[in-house]
């Protein structure tokens, strides 16, 4: 089920760049159990892709394949024009529940610095050039004001900004974000979504976002990968936000609403039976 539809305005110098992610007949397993199979799709460079599907469908697993952390059991994978490999500096990664795991023992700035220099062995001071890149990344996400604070002192939205700064500090071309909006209030959700839009527009980053709620992301999504019946499928976002498909996907009635302004919403269509 390959689709290379190029929707909406794409101002990237796209054509010549290799796709961000190519799956060709890919199956993955964990502990001998197939998670999903027959994944065949292409994510073009510059897309903002929602990765959706019910719990346990293997959304995070897809990221682990792209990061080279999990070998596939069948098929071929290509990330940014090359085979997946661990430690790919062209990918920025923000794991799920990321911020909850971080404690009291690290400042925001130092965490971002680790994204740049954390894999280097040996005694070496952070160079002024590296420090400047960390400052830039912090400024880009609007985190300068709380850069010197400990991660545990920051709100969920602030922590998520710092995590994104860490993911882009080494000039990642592909960002993998696992549930970046979980546990954020509406305003913080919108600010992170706006940040993702800026990242795509101004830094020409390809973004894949795992999300269980599509709504807050709809303004920036160009495509979606949805895991349905044990297989990943890819399509442009307009084709995915359909009542029938979403209802099938989530196994519960989902409605789609288009407002007069052209905004798209999904909603749980189940209603309390009238007495």
């Amino acid at each position: 089920m390959t689709s290379s539809g190029v929707p909406t305005a794409d101002r990237s110098a796209g054509g010549s760049r290799p796709p961000a992610l190519v799956l060709d007949g890919v199956s993955v397993a964990r502990g001998g159990q197939t998670v999903w199979s027959h994944g065949t799709f292409t994510v073009r460079a510059g897309a903002v892709v929602g990765v959706i599907g019910p719990n346990g469908a293997g959304k995070t697993t897809m990221f682990q394949v792209a990061l080279g952390l999990l070998p596939v059991t069948a098929g071929r994978v290509e990330v940014l024009g090359a085979a997946p490999r661990r430690g790919n500096r062209r990918i920025g990664y923000v794991p799920q529940n990321y911020t909850a795991a971080l404690g009291d023992a690290i400042r925001a700035r130092d965490l971002v610095t680790l994204g740049l220099t954390g894999s280097r062995f040996g005694l070496r001071r952070t160079s002024p050039a590296e420090r400047a890149r960390v400052d830039q990344a912090l400024a880009w996400v609007g985190a300068e004001a709380f850069a010197e604070r400990r991660m545990s002192e920051l709100s969920g939205g602030q922590q998520q900004r710092v995590a994104i700064a860490q993911a882009i500090v080494d000039d990642a071309e592909l960002l993998l974000l696992d549930e970046p909006l979980a546990n954020l209030d509406l305003r913080n959700q919108q600010e992170i979504v706006r940040l993702l839009g800026d990242l795509r527009r101004e830094r020409d980053v390809t973004i894949m976002v795992v999300a269980h709620d599509l709504n807050p992301l709809l303004p920036v999504l160009t495509d979606a990968v949805y895991l349905l019946d044990g297989h990943p499928h890819h399509d442009e976002i307009g084709q995915v936000v359909q009542e029938e498909l979403l209802t099938h996907l989530y196994g519960t009635p989902v409605g789609v609403v288009r407002t007069a302004q052209g905004d798209l919403f999904t909603r749980a269509a189940w209603r309390e039976p009238q007495a």
């Binding site: 990061l67 952390l69 661990r86 430690g87 790919n88 500096r89 990918i91 990664y93 923000v94 794991p95 990321y98 795991a101 971080l102 404690g103 009291d104 023992a105 690290i106 400042r107 130092d110 965490l111 680790l114 994204g115 220099t117 954390g118 894999s119 280097r120 062995f121 040996g122 005694l123 070496r124 996400v141 609007g142 985190a143 004001a145 709380f146 400990r150 545990s152 002192e153 920051l154 709100s155 969920g156 939205g157 602030q158 900004r161 860490q166 993911a167 305003r187 913080n188 600010e191 706006r194 940040l195 800026d198």
Partner: protein
């Protein structure tokens, strides 16, 4: 005062210049450096319980060494490193690790008691393993301590950055190509070497105060890894030196004073108003940053 057998020693300055006091000072300082440096990682890796357990796992190593007539340091080192590797092999999930660690801890203590009784070790020997006997450090032990501390400092110098990354942010570190698993094993070996030394200074039961407490104190003042390490080393050194001086002044075992000083420093930082909060931070309201 004689009732409590605590008497001020007017000759304490002379006592400090004796050979056993000098050895104690050097040995204690070496341990303080290694323990202070590792403390940050013990806390960020949530290994405090494992550190405590390793000390207990050393107990049968020490009593077994007495039984076999080999150096206590050797027995301690073999059991601590072996136990560390064993704990490291059990799942990475903290919950799994805690169950495995606790079970091994209980078994080790039981075996330690068995060895002690088989070796018909006197109560004094067992006591010095449980509570440390810094004043009995020999010159041979000092050489071993120096080698262990050099190994800890040298290895940390090479591993520092990736180890910080793997400790505070393991999922991203792994994705970035940091060998998280191998670093974990290297760390537990360093920890085992440090605990081998620390057991001989403050003993199995009091070890926490030297390996975890100074770093916990430092972490309340700063979160910058290098500063935490420096401050933790300073606190550990201060506790050892102060403890030895006090011990010379009143002629009582130094373990009590060393541990008390480390705990006092922790309490002081905990209670000082304007210092860092005493409870885990509540996330404050977002600074608004429209992009």
């Amino acid at each position: 005062m004689t009732l409590l057998a605590v008497e001020f020693q007017s000759n304490w300055l002379d006592v400090l210049q004796t050979t056993f006091m000098r050895n104690a000072l050097i040995g204690g300082s070496l341990v303080a450096v290694a323990a202070g440096l590792l403390g940050y990682f013990v806390i960020t890796r949530q290994n405090a319980f494992a550190a405590h357990a390793l000390a207990h796992i050393g107990f049968p190593g020490a009593t077994g060494a007495i039984l076999l007539g080999v150096p206590v340091t050797l027995g301690l080192a073999v059991f601590c490193v072996g136990g560390g590797l064993l704990i490291g092999l059990f799942g990475r999930r903290v919950a799994d690790r805690e169950m495995a660690t606790g079970t091994i801890l209980a078994l080790a203590t039981a075996v330690g008691v068995l060895f002690a009784s088989l070796a018909s070790a006197n109560a004094g020997t067992t006591t010095s393993v449980l509570f440390g006997n810094l004043l009995a450090i020999s010159e041979d032990q000092l050489l071993v301590f120096a080698a262990f501390t050099a190994a800890v400092v040298g290895t940390l110098a090479v591993l520092a950055r990736p180890l910080v990354f793997a400790s505070v942010d393991p999922a991203v570190a792994e994705a970035r190509g940091v060998p998280v698993r191998a670093l974990g094993i290297a760390f537990v070996v360093l920890l085992a070497l440090t605990i081998t030394m620390a057991v001989q200074v403050v003993g199995t039961l009091l070890l926490f105060a030297l390996v975890v407490t100074p770093a916990a104190t430092a972490l309340r003042i700063t979160a910058r890894p290098v500063r935490v390490a420096a401050l933790a080393v300073a606190i550990a050194l201060g506790s050892v030196w102060g403890g030895l001086v006090l011990s010379a002044m009143v002629d009582l075992p130094p373990s009590f004073f060393i541990v008390s000083l480390a705990v006092l420093a922790w309490l002081a930082v905990l209670l000082v108003p304007g210092g860092r909060r005493a409870t885990p931070a509540r996330a404050p309201v977002d600074n608004h940053h429209p992009h």
